[in-house]
Amino acid sequence: MSANQPSVEVRNVSKKYCRNLKRSLRYGLADLWSETTARRGGWRGKLRPGEFFAVDSVDFDMKAGECIALLGPNGAGKSTLLKMIAGLFKPDLGTITVRGRLGALIELGTGFNTILSGRENVYVNGAILGLTRREVEDRFDAIMDFSEVGDVIDEPVRTYSTGMRLRLGFAVATHMNPRVLLVDEVLAVGDVGFRMKCFNHILKLVESGMSLIIVSHAIGQLNRVSTRSIVMNKHKMIFDGDFVEGASLYEKIQLEQHSAVNEVSGNEPCLVSAIEIEPSLSGSQQFKTGDDLSARIVITSKHTLKGARLRISIESARTGVLGGFGTPLQEFQFDVCPPQTTVRVTLPELPLLMGAYTLNATIYGPGREEFIHRRKPGATFEITQPRTASFGLGEDGVIRFRHLWELLE
């Protein structure tokens, strides 16, 4: 293979899935028969009753040393795609080509026997992942070092904490030096310190020319390793390109998918019926950092409500609620009159960086604890510019900090 050949080629790949167990087993039996009799005629691409494409026509190439973040809500088909690339089962349509030693971290510590010692398990696990005895021996110290398990390496794994098992599993898996590594969600667990260490290690491997496809919901951390993202939604690939753009698209999907929490207290016939973000200069819900944003909050009511209060909160898909404020803060007073009252709120010079956000609204009565209705998620908007940059090159994260530099001495 030459260096300019992609290390992973995914060509128009689809995979069928059936949720009904009985049917699924029957189809399994039929597939078994077709497989054994080498049946031809594209039967694999046809949907049977109850089936749908869990992965639908996904197509991309990956260069050596590239790091792709595979993003998407739960059930979008990410894991199924990853398992096909890992060769655990076949695509129903399309072709996958992988060049170079392939490693997959679908689950850490798979194959550990808890009765045996950590040392014994390192050897077994290494063999499962394709390392020879020599290779494990050569890397044993590095694995020990990385996992920080220490003296207990000769104690049975059943005495290890979950974190220790995880560390050992990760250490073995990444020390097999794959050329192509697939990571599925495994870094969601473990303490922050170790997670950072894992990411640093992955970063080092990527810099050395390893290709990485990583599934994770920790967008903030992926930012450090990924330059490119592929977003899947409803079994299809809907975006392939710049990481930050994909991440903000994914955040938007996340926010929109959260089922509406429309809490209503008592039988107060008064509610926040709509939140409308006024379009930006570009005429859409997309803004730049530093833009002014205005939103209209529409409250419908059957009765007059004197001295109502309104609270706005801003939520980021990545980090949760960023903050909020209520009308009394600026001594803004208003009454809700039937049938409808509209309040406009403006946030000048948005200090938010690239990503997707929601603006939620809650209406209260005049009394201290008189909660009436909360619309959450409210309206979604996106910050699409300027691009954020990691590695100390620009600004990154969620919030823009105003700052000043001075050289002293």
């Binding site: 039996l29 078994l32 049946r39 398992k83 997959a104």
Partner: protein, 306 residues
Amino acid sequence: MANEFETSQTPPSGPIESSNSNDDVDEVLVFTPDSGMTNPLQLFGDSLRDLWAGRELAWRMFIRNIRGLYRQTFLGLFWAFLPPLANTVVWLLLRQAGAIDLAEGIKVHYAVYVMTGMVIWQSFTEALQAPLQAVNANRNMLSKIRFPRESILLVSVFEVLFNLAVRLVVLVPLLLIFGIVWTPWLLLSPLLILWLIFLGLAIGLYLMPIGMLYQDVGKLIAVAVPVWMIITPIVYGPPDNWNSNPLNWLNPASPLLTLTRDLMLFGTTEVWPSAIVYAAITLPLLVTGMLYYRLSIPVLVERISS
């Protein structure tokens, strides 16, 4: 879809230890929807290659299993010998109680006869049940990691052979104590039993894929094995006119088992013709069974993984 790699392969960059001597850096994997049966020869080649590639893994897993097993038992290896021993004791007690006497026509001590048959039978049924049990036990690994699939079968074979070795170490001295005449066949008995193990494994391989989808198969095997044992001449003497009674040679376990036991105990047998037929079909059956196994694993992983 042969691996087309050019010779001048250099990793794009990177000082990190990636410059190790792994020849599989060049490995090219192609996954397509096509059935492996479109190219059976390559399928066979891949199967052999993975069997070879998985030998070290199989050995490690075998050691792991044995260690794990015996580290948590008090009696250790005794457990390997218990099943045939217990079975033998049952039949001795039945005979003692006068309930049944099946010893008619047996020219050696009844206990020796039953014990020998039981040891051979045990290996056969273990091999028969091995594929389904192995895939079931490793379903999590199969759906999470890509490793040579054949290795877990190899582990099963190692385990069956290990159990057999433990039993033979007890059985053979016992035979000599009970006055069995020494023949070279005693030395060759492991090879004869190995053939029966292969036959059991082949049948087990054919049952495994459907058994992984439907638990009925596993339940059926559990019910069938004791019945099968009764219709196999283990606790009673070999029937007269062997070749004229189809029950004798239609039962796949019977000819090879009878042959092995006869040769071990008497140094001679009358069941050569049917035994040779079964011995001859065992190997093709095993090879096709392995191919079927290889074809079925991805289909099964797709259905059983959660």
